[in-house]
């Protein structure tokens, strides 16, 4: 059987999207009462849950405290049932530690940590269903959770992936597109200022193409931003309406 056609000559991807289109994004803030902030996001079939605690007193060894800003502590995990094959994922496996580190870098760039010296902010994200773009879903969910927690940020951090197939950049890769092994860029962007919080690339991509792929990814990030922004505004509006004055 011939390998899967990722982008048909008519310009449609395997799931019917065009090259620059995102999967359907649905999100919700404040899904848990006991956490300071929480959010749930679906990007296509990728589903992620993020929970934020803090800023609070340092937990564990106090020596890790930073005297001029808050420490951002992240943890990424995948539910055992998140992939088609059930798999135990012990904490600290290589992939999730890497993801944890990336999330930390991303949010250290976005949160105004200097406002909260010597404290700690915990961001926990879990993938409930993995269908490509796990990192991006995590970042987007965590952004909503941080906003929900009322922690000051420079801007939203929106993330999206982009790949490169048949000389065309594809936005927001799904699992089958990721699995094809082509080049893949994950971009976390502060959309208003267009500053890049994190850029990661897998596989080899020629430098001539890099710009268009990043361009596709940042366009996708902005589209994600529009969705998230709407979610946040609706949420704020609803809550303020309830609060009355």
């Amino acid at each position: 059987m011939a390998a899967l056609e990722l982008l048909s000559d008519e310009g449609y991807r395997a799931d019917g999207r065009r090259a620059a289109e995102l999967r359907k994004v649905r999100a919700r803030m404040g899904v848990f009462a006991q956490a300071d902030g929480s959010a749930y996001i679906e990007q296509g079939n990728t589903k992620a849950l993020a929970v934020v605690y803090g800023p609070h007193e340092m937990r564990g060894s106090r020596s890790k405290a930073l005297h001029d800003r808050a420490l951002v502590n992240c943890q990424y995990s995948m539910a055992t049932f998140s992939t088609s094959e059930r798999k135990r994922r012990p904490h600290g496996d290589r992939k999730s530690s890497e993801m944890t580190l990336h999330l930390k870098q991303t949010f250290e760039a976005a949160i105004l940590t200097q406002l909260y010296p010597r404290s700690q902010i915990d961001i926990y994200v879990q993938i409930l269903q993995a269908d490509g773009g796990n990192y991006c879903a995590c970042v987007n969910a965590a952004t909503l959770a941080v906003i929900d927690a009322g922690i000051p940020m420079r801007d939203y951090v929106c993330a999206s992936s982009a790949g490169f197939v048949e000389d065309t950049p594809l936005a927001d890769l799904s699992y089958i597109e990721e699995a094809s092994g082509g080049p893949q860029v994950a971009l976390a962007l502060l959309p208003t200022s267009e500053q890049i919080a994190l850029l990661e690339m897998n596989s080899r991509l020629h430098e001539d193409h890099l710009e268009e792929v990043i361009e596709a990814a940042s366009k996708a990030c902005k589209a994600v931003h529009a969705v998230l922004d709407q979610v946040v505004r609706d949420h704020v509006q609803e809550v303020t309406a309830l609060l009355g004055d």
């Binding site: 009462a33 300071d36 800023p55 404290s119 009322g150 801007d155 200022s193 303020t240 309406a241």
Partner: protein
């Protein structure tokens, strides 16, 4: 065989601004430019970039004269002098206790800022220091007042009044600090037969109304006598009512709690937490409050 109630989640109804009394509020999300006018003072929830005032949290823009700040929907507790708080001891240190008060950093209760048994004002001796854990140990709940706020936002507490001190039997509910309405007094003896302390930090303490006020206060001993069932039921009902109010984002103060309590009476205590009941009783409370205002 006992029937079991099964509940399935239903689609959440979006609460539209059917009755948005707040009118046109200026709502912002992080990254939004509030103003490019440089004449303003920068307040909480904002930052300045390239001479623009930009929101860093999601919420409503508030202006006080020249000061512009964004009030986030929920935040951790920001201590202010004079606030009444309920907190939990997390650590016993030299001459002070660390208290978790839902603040960004743990609050401090100095040995010197509390009334000790036997005499209102006496010097703290070395023995007192050694006996600190006898007074308050890790996990104890206290009520206190904010004495001062440090530059990093940490709070120093005092319990130099008979109203404050160690809390005994009761129920703690944690809510968002923004939902606790500032009032003259935060200690209420409700006519329904229980008392509440509405901590400004969002910690709410529900306890049976003490019989003799004077003796109990400021003590470090806990009354371990069983609380009668009727009191416990009242406390449970109050607790669920408060949770209902919080879920529906209604401000907490004595009247709202009381109205909600009354509205809940037709229901069993355990049923209060059902979404439709919550909605119903809070709506009723809201209506009564509006009637009261109007």
């Amino acid at each position: 065989m006992a029937a079991m109630a099964m509940r399935l989640p239903v689609a959440r109804k979006a609460v539209r601004q059917s009755a948005a009394p707040g009118g046109e509020k200026h709502l912002v999300a992080p990254g939004d430019i509030i103003t490019t006018d440089t004449g303003y003072m920068r307040g909480h929830g904002t930052y300045v970039d390239e001479e623009k005032l930009i929101a860093s949290v999601a919420g409503a823009v508030e202006r006080v004269n020249k000061l512009v700040y964004v009030k986030a929907l929920k935040t951790r507790y920001n201590g202010e002098v004079g606030d009444i708080v309920v907190g939990r001891i997390t650590e016993v240190q030299q001459k002070r206790w660390k208290v978790e008060t839902n603040s960004r950093l743990d609050s401090v209760l100095l040995l010197s800022s509390m009334n000790l048994p036997g005499g209102e004002l006496r010097r703290r001796s070395a023995e007192d220091e050694l006996a600190m854990r006898d007074y308050l140990q890790e996990g104890d709940l206290i009520s206190a007042e904010v004495q001062s706020v440090f530059s990093d936002g940490a709070v120093s507490l005092h319990t130099r009044s008979l109203k404050y001190g160690k809390l005994g039997q009761g129920v703690l509910v944690q809510v968002s600090p923004s939902l606790v309405k500032r009032q003259k007094t935060h200690f209420h003896d409700l006519p329904c037969g229980a008392s509440v302390i509405l901590g400004n930090n969002g910690f709410i303490w529900i306890y049976p109304t003490p019989e003799q006020k004077d003796e109990e206060a400021g003590g470090f001993t806990t009354n371990l006598e069983p609380v009668p069932l009727s009191d416990r039921e009242v406390i449970s009902r109050l607790r669920n009512c408060i949770v209902a109010l919080v879920t529906q984002k209604l401000m907490l103060f004595d009247t709202s709690i009381l109205y909600c309590y009354e509205a809940s009476l037709p229901h069993q205590i355990k049923d209060i937490l059902k979404p439709e009941v919550m909605e119903e009783i809070v709506l009723e409370t809201r209506q009564r409050l509006l009637d009261l205002e109007g």
